[in-house]
Structures are given as structure tokens and as C-alpha cells.
């Protein structure tokens, strides 16, 4: 049985359907992420799990028990808020000990739990400090410690890294992964940052306009998106209008407008003549002037339209003969900048026959 089961949950605000018949199962020990653009309903789901909001239809079960009549303070789960929501009139230790005090843990046990969690989040020396004396990262750790100290069944995290700068964010991501592994508490994480979701999660539910678009492991979600929305929302992708020519003999042949015929891996369930989208990640696209690109099953001539040098990689946009733009990502691993193309250079663009996915509408 799943630790948390969301069954056919719907939540409306007036005419706006914030959450539309969502069902999800979250397993014990999982790092589960709700990912989607703002307004997709992910925070509303979190608030309903926490008990700050109630579903208009459907149920939420924790350990098989319906939570409908359980007020927030009686639910064995805690939330880490986006704004951290530390109590400004309490010290770090008092903040973290708050849930222990509310749960009436015996003094000695509470002290032990407090010190344990202070060590875990590296804040032992800040126990007597007040929230306004802490940096963003430290506040973040206090909020995490406060959420974890009473060993909840579930920890809900609402965009907790949103307020941190990029460098600190990356550090906290690693800390979060390690912390979750150490304490073994199930995390339900809400974010709109797809990179963060991919880095942290065991499984991700991508949300679109109140519905779950796809639930999968990060690599599956990235490699095999099932809809245009998911493909587009997670990372960058080239989406090309295609029509199936033939799907047999171990591969699928596609006719792509403005490009020509493309060989893709076999997709069952597609019939000749069907319209679809061929989606391919920029890092799967090769660019070259001769040799290796021409050896690939799919290769087409084009000219470099523009490029963005990003340090570790360079993103090229290549214009094909019929005006179609294809994005390719080339690592700059060699010293200096290897394979430098200038705007206007004639190049060949190619990819393996097993690269890319077919998306049906």
C-alpha cells in the first residue's frame, strides 16, 4: 500500500479548476516531486495534503486512513514553507523544538532529538541565534530541521530553494538528497524548476492546468516524454511536424516537413499516414562538416543561424534548407573551443536512428 494516496481529487476556486481529478500514489521513503508552471495546481495539492485546504471531491489517504476530518495539527506530516515561516520571536533551538513541545515529548527525549537534528543540518553553533541573524541558507536549514525533528511520516516542501541564489541552491540540493537518505522520511517536493526536480527526485509528476501530465522517473521523463507539454517543459527539445510513412522492419520512417525522410526507432501503434510530432533533444543532434555526421542514418545540410556560448557547452541553431531551425548542443570539452562554427557556415546536422521520440496529439 502506498504511504500517501491521492484519489480523484478536485479543487475549484469559483469557475477556476485548480486541481482536476488528480490521482497519485506516493511510496514510503520516496523523494516525490510535483513539477509544473505556476498556476498548475501543485501548491494547491500540497495545501490539501497539509490540511490547509480541502478537496471539493476525492480523498487523500495517509497510511490508508482518510485525512478528510483531520485538522492540520493532527496530521503526522510537516511542511517546509517557501518563505521558511520561522517564528521571529523564537531562537533557532526554540523554533526547531516547537513541534516537539506541541507533541508533548518528554524533556530529555526532546533535547536529544533537538541536538541530533541540529547536528544533521550543521546548525549546532547557531542554536541560540534568532531568525533575523541567519543567512538564507541557514534559515532554510532551520526550516528543514523543524520539519524533520518530530519524525513525520511525510515532509512537504513548497519551493524551499526558490529564495536562494544559484550557487547555494546547488549546495542545498545535494544536502537535501543526503538528508532525505539519512532520515528516510518521505519527501513531497513542489517546484517549477525542472532542473531541480530532475536532480532531486526519485519520481516526478508533471502537472499541467490542474491535471497530471506524466508521472515517471527523471530519466524516463526526460528521455521519453509522452506529450508535447512534458517534452517542452522539461529541458529543451526540437519539435518537428511529422507524418508516418511506414512503421515496420524494426524502424519507423517519417516524413518531416521542410526536412525530408527521417529514420526513427520502431514505434508500435503508429500507422502509415498518421500525423505526429518528432521530438529530439539538442544534445542528441550532431553538427559536422564531413565524416562522422554523414555516417549517421539521418543527416541534412544547413547553415549556422546563430549560437550561444555557455562555457561548458555551445548551443547552435542551424537553419535547414527550407527555413526550419534545429537546435544542437555541443560540449566544449576540448581545450579552447573545439569545432568552432561561425554564423553562416555550411554544416551537416545529423542524429542516430534511435534518437528522439514520437509524440501523438
Amino acid at each position: 500500500m502506498a504511504l500517501l494516496e491521492i484519489r480523484n481529487v478536485t479543487r475549484r476556486f469559483g469557475d477556476f479548476v485548480a486541481v482536476d481529478n488528480v490521482s497519485l500514489n506516493i511510496e514510503a521513503g520516496e523523494f516525490f516531486t510535483l513539477l509544473g508552471p505556476s498556476g498548475c495546481g501543485k501548491t494547491t495539492i500540497l495545501r490539501m495534503i497539509a490540511g490547509f485546504d480541502l478537496p471539493d471531491a476525492g480523498q487523500i489517504f495517509l497510511d490508508g486512513r482518510d485525512l478528510a476530518d483531520t485538522p492540520p495539527e493532527k496530521r503526522p506530516l510537516h511542511t517546509v514553507f517557501q518563505s521558511y515561516a520561522l517564528f521571529p520571536h523564537m531562537s533557532v533551538a526554540q523554533n526547531i523544538a516547537f513541534p516537539l513541545k506541541m507533541a508533548r515529548r518528554p524533556q530529555a527525549e526532546a533535547q536529544k532529538m533537538l541536538h541530533e537534528v541540529l547536528e544533521q543540518v550543521h546548525l549546532a553553533d547557531k542554536a541560540d541565534a534568532y531568525p533575523h541573524e541567519l543567512s538564507g541558507g541557514q534559515k532554510q536549514r532551520v526550516a528543514l530541521a523543524r520539519g524533520l525533528v518530530n519524525r513525520p511520516r511525510l515532509l512537504l516542501l513548497d519551493e524551499p530553494l526558490g529564495a536562494l541564489d544559484a550557487k547555494l541552491r546547488e549546495e542545498m540540493q545535494i544536502e537535501l538528497i543526503n538528508l532525505q537518505k539519512d532520515v528516510g522520511v518521505t519527501f513531497v517536493f513542489v517546484t517549477h524548476a525542472q532542473v531541480e526536480a530532475l536532480a532531486l527526485s526519485h519520481r516526478i509528476a508533471v502537472m499541467e492546468a490542474g491535471r497530471v501530465a506524466q508521472v515517471d522517473e527523471p530519466s524516463k521523463l526526460y528521455g521519453f516524454p509522452q506529450s508535447r507539454f512534458v517534452a517542452d517543459f522539461i529541458g529543451h527539445i526540437n519539435m518537428l511536424q511529422a507524418q508516418v510513412v511506414e512503421s515496420a522492419h524494426g524502424h519507423t520512417r517519417l516524413a518531416i516537413a521542410g526536412l525530408g525522410e527521417v529514420i526513427a526507432s520502431l514505434h508500435s501503434g503508429v500507422t502509415a499516414g498518421a500525423k505526429c510530432t518528432f521530438a529530439i533533444r539538442p544534445e542528441q543532434v550532431r553538427i559536422g562538416t564531413h565524416g562522422e555526421v554523414s555516417e549517421l542514418k539521418n543527416h541534412f545540410p544547413g547553415t549556422v543561424h546563430n549560437f550561444l556560448y555557455r562555457g561548458d557547452v555551445t548551443v547552435y541553431k542551424v537553419q535547414m534548407e527550407n527555413g526550419l531551425l534545429i537546435e544542437a548542443l555541443l560540449p566544449n570539452a576540448a581545450p579552447g573551443r573545439a569545432e568552432l562554427y561561425e554564423v553562416g557556415d555550411a554544416v551537416r546536422v545529423g542524429w542516430r536512428h534511435d534518437a528522439g521520440v514520437l509524440l501523438h496529439e
Binding site: P72, E73, H78, T79, F98, M102, R146, G147
Partner: protein
Amino acid sequence: MRRGPWLWAAALAVYAFLYLPLVIVIVYSFNDSRLNAEWVGFTWHWYEVLLHDEDMLLAAGNSLFIALVSSSIATVLGTMAGIAMQRYNLRLLSFMVLTPVAMPEVLLGVSLLLFFIQVLNLTLGMISIILAHITFSIGFVAVIVRARLAGMDDSIFEAARDLGATPWQTFRHVTFPLILPGVVAGWLMAFTLSIDDFVITFFTAGVGVSTLPLRIYSMIKIAVTPEVNAVSTILMLLTLTMILLATRFAPDVLKGKA
């Protein structure tokens, strides 16, 4: 920005306009003469007279009692109103709580008088004054408490619930400690308003009970004696202290955020 001499002159004129009358009252309360006409010499005489004026002392006692009781009750009710106004964001609620603040005092006084006599059938006296004072003080307390809450992150109250606190525990451990400065400032404000209120008290006092402002008024109907100056000076000091204390507890009040 460079401030020219004209700006300084204008500022000085405004301050003089505001404070000169008060200074004159204070100065003449130490004047060794029955008349407020010319300075004769320094004396504590009028304060001694005040100490032996039974009626005046009784009125002062009444004023203190009314101020203490009405401001305390108004603080409890106003705090609840302020929290409700912040939490539920109901226009009607804010409107209803704040109307008595903006209402002309004469109007409020007359309505309360009619209400007490014709609807409640109440004999005018201490109780009616206290009720009237509570009525006009609630709004002030509510505004100050709300201003205090408005600057806070709402999610801390949700966080308290989330971490296992019942609504009452959330109030006791989180909300109340955080709004306490506002509550104290509101109480001080209500106390100040009550102790020097004349108009509404005048309508709701009836014949039996007198307060300090009513007593002063009845004295100056005959003549402004230096004794009035003395009692005014004391009242002024008390009010000033209260206001200073209130602004210390809730600096927003002075900045006009309330």
C-alpha cells in the same frame, strides 16, 4: 536638499501655533496670581489647592477607573477584531469596526445617549460612560493590532498549525507574542483617549458622575483659574507619557501606517 530660511520660518510658525497654547497653560499653572494676565512669580500653590479639592480628586479617580476598565475591555475586543480583519479580509467587518473612529463625536455621543436611555433603559452613570468609551476605543486598538499583523508573513501561523499547534496554541505561542507590542500600544492609546474624552462623556455621564474633563469644563464656565491650568498640566503630562509609550511599542503608529 538645502533647506532655505523660509522653510525654517514656516516650520517654526507651525510648531508655535501647535505648542504655544500648551506652553502657556503650563507656565501659568506656576503663576503666583489669580489672573492669567501677567507673570507675577513662581509657586506650587495651585497644585496644593488641587490636592485638597475633593470634587476634583473624585473626578480624577472616576476618570482613571473608567480609563482602566474601558481600555482593557476595548483592548480585548479590538485585538480580536484586528486579528479577524487581517485574517478574513472582510470589507464589511473593517468598515463596521472603523466607523466609530471616523464618526463625529457629537453624533456618536447623541446616538449612544439615545441608545442607553431608550433601548437599554439604562440609568446614566459609570456603566454608560464605560460602555461609550469602549465603543469608540475598539477601532483604534483594532487598527494598531492589524497594522502589526499586516507586516508579518501569514505562513507562520499556518506553520504553527502544521507543526502540531491547535488554533488556541497557535494564538498563545505564536500570534499573541508577536502582536503583544501592538496590543500594549492599543491599550495605551485607548487609555489616553478615554481619560481626556469630553464630548461623548458629556452626553453619556448623566448627573451623578463626573470625570476630570467634565470637572474642568464646569470650572471654566465661571473663570479659568490657575487651578485649571495645574490640572491641565498634569493631564497633559499623563497623556504625553502614554503616547510616547505607545509609539515605543508600535512605531508604526507614529509613521501613520496604522
